[in-house]
Symmetry: C4
Subunit: 234 residues, 4 copies
């Protein structure tokens, strides 16, 4: 490993800088030594794992009732749970994409950011429980409050994560646009605001809450300032 060549004084193909490159690539993100903080890759791996599981375990709550009825009628009984599953899957999708965008703009992370990320993941792991409660108590405003409250907690963690990173600019990737920084914040505030509304209207009728929560993700389907143009290759 070029490492060994540290003695070599002349700049050339093996000068210290190229060497650092090599170590960086080879040892795969073992660059804490460079004074750049912790790499982002493992946080992404842990986060992707938690999301993959949260998205999948909600289905484990689906159990076909036994009985003599037709399959269709027994499946029909499950519709609130199925609805809660689809809602939660989509909500997790929105949150995952939000996380994806943020991490894409980070160059490095540190202990505080990791804990803010873990706070976010705490909410993600709790969402399947919230979904199960909502699936069996969809007419209870407190079930909506528990569910939407979890979404708000996730949003707040994501916002704290992003705000911290922005305040500590050395953690950001170079050249992050101020518009993007603002847009990422606005989008989280928006989702949290809608979730608060969903909780409030639940005390009138939880069906409105659920409609509001189902409508929320559609907003995030739309392209925004945070989506960079993909430049065709010529």
């Amino acid at each position: 490993m070029a490492v060994v060549g540290d003695a070599d004084p002349k700049p050339g193909p093996h000068d210290p800088r190229r060497e650092e490159e090599r170590i960086g690539a080879d040892a795969d993100a073992r660059s804490i030594r460079s004074g750049l903080g912790l790499p982002v890759a493992r946080i992404e791996a842990l986060t992707d794992g938690v999301f993959a599981i949260a998205m999948t375990v909600i289905v484990l709550g689906l159990e076909l009732p036994k009985g003599s009825g037709s399959l269709g009628s027994r499946l029909w009984v499950l519709w609130p749970k199925l609805g809660s599953y689809v809602l939660s899957f989509v909500m997790l999708g929105v949150l995952w994409i939000g996380h994806h965008y943020q991490l894409n703009h980070l160059r490095r992370t540190n202990r505080i950011l990791i804990w803010l990320n873990l706070g976010f993941l705490l909410a993600i792991t709790f969402l399947p429980f919230g979904a199960a409660v909502l699936g069996t108590n969809y007419a209870d405003p407190w079930a909506v409050a528990l569910y939407a409250g979890t979404v708000i907690f996730a949003g707040a963690s994501l916002l704290a994560h992003w705000s911290y990173a922005v305040r500590h600019g050395e953690l950001l990737a170079p050249g992050v646009d101020a518009n993007v920084i603002a847009a990422l914040k606005t989008r989280i505030w928006f989702g949290m605001g809608v979730s608060v509304v969903a909780i409030a209207v639940g005390f009138i009728d939880t069906r409105i809450s659920i409609a509001v929560l189902l409508a929320l993700p559609t907003v995030y389907l739309v392209r925004s300032r945070i989506d960079h143009k993909v430049v065709p290759r010529t």
Copy 2:
């Protein structure tokens, strides 16, 4: 980041900018800023996680009946569930490989592609439930319809994903062969068609459906135009 420096006429191989590029590589796909859209790696990670879990949780539905019978006889009772597990594992394998090939031809992704991918994952997370229903209701044509319908939904998402990517050529890796593009589509259409047939024949006899579904993956075992020749190194 070198991104910025394209105008510069002659950066030497070791100038600071090249080094920064390398840090870019090091920080693993933090290249959203370059106007190339989102990197593919995290989508792969989420997808691989969901598949890994879906493949494993089907087994959680296997529970040995308690009783005084011999172990063999109690295991024997499980055969429809075991069959459903093996069928589903293989089906997930086919779908995973299909996804693997598609992503291999993508250079970047964007918001729409991510949502199409999430639609695909929704079907994947649902498959264990479909498998559980099929394992306990294998003689019911509606159980076959639920199961094969999930496969069709997964196929349709995969097809939409690929078609979108092809229509937005800047997301494709350079030099993707038109034959490969067409073959990837044909293979998905084929699987969806067979699944429709499986649903239809289920109303005559679900055993034919299951035979058809079990036969389906064998087609995908065969090499096709989408498999590139591995060139030995000389």
Copy 3:
């Protein structure tokens, strides 16, 4: 990103070749185009995910019996399940390491190798069920046979995987030592042989089988020819 600099005619830091390099690294293993087959990274990701889940879900089978007894006495009842969990965790460890070594020697993969790998993963996902059956039927030779049979199936898949890769040398990393190739095979044959013995002696006394299976991993703790010497840095 240099990508944008395609217009630049002169070979230099932005010439096409360098660009392809960049895209190769940047787009992370999107090198199917190079005629080198499919990259190995996603197979590792899927495999690592399946192992992580298989290792964890065995614990889900542990449930503290309710009752008025002391915690200690209620935990004590669980010991066969606990034993089965530890045995299975270690067995999964051995199999994971075996897979790790093999993949380390692969340069690329193809459709056949992926299916052989999926066959291996089928056994891995089945092992938690085998462990649950063994944990509640540890005195039944057929429970041992089911469990050890799963291990044999995993071993056979791993052997087929390695043999196929060796026969198609272009998939191997350059410079794999013939000794290593042979040693990797021998180690798998050994594990399969011991598992056959464990099944056989189970019909005399399953406690011997379990002792044999518990002893098996210790062999794999020992350094072998497949372990390359780590060269100290001077």
Copy 4:
């Protein structure tokens, strides 16, 4: 691999050796051949997967009791389980971060290190069971002992892992500071010591134990010598 070629005075940017390097990078950590032992990436992947699952499955133990009471009162019954879930999530967070830091300082791994890591993961997979037992038996000092004992086992594995790596310096990344080496050890010893105290005071009152265990992670929130300064880019 160019690694070897340090003596060579002027390899051009496109000479064969540089290309091999590239393939090395491309094929992602397939560098076992270089005599540097096994790459670290897959161990991270397996570990991240196990943590992601352990963090998520604890929630699967949460089940809303059925009954006629209000949702709030039924949720209230769950508070010891909820407390156990949050405690365990945070504990897993601490352990994950500890692992993250260690691996960051490793250049390569070997068979012994992998087994020490698997010992660590054995404790991690067991923690959800410990959490479930604690959640239903929070007044029983033995439940505290089981739980804190699992944490101690995890800590001991982590300590053994780090001590082994330090003793085999060729596995360490170059330039790891002696202060960091010592600090990583001290932090693990500290956590293990506090866990021993938690077990001991449990025989007086388990509420003190739980308070102690809940207080423990706060220590790890604080920056320490092991946190490198993130240097702003100029």
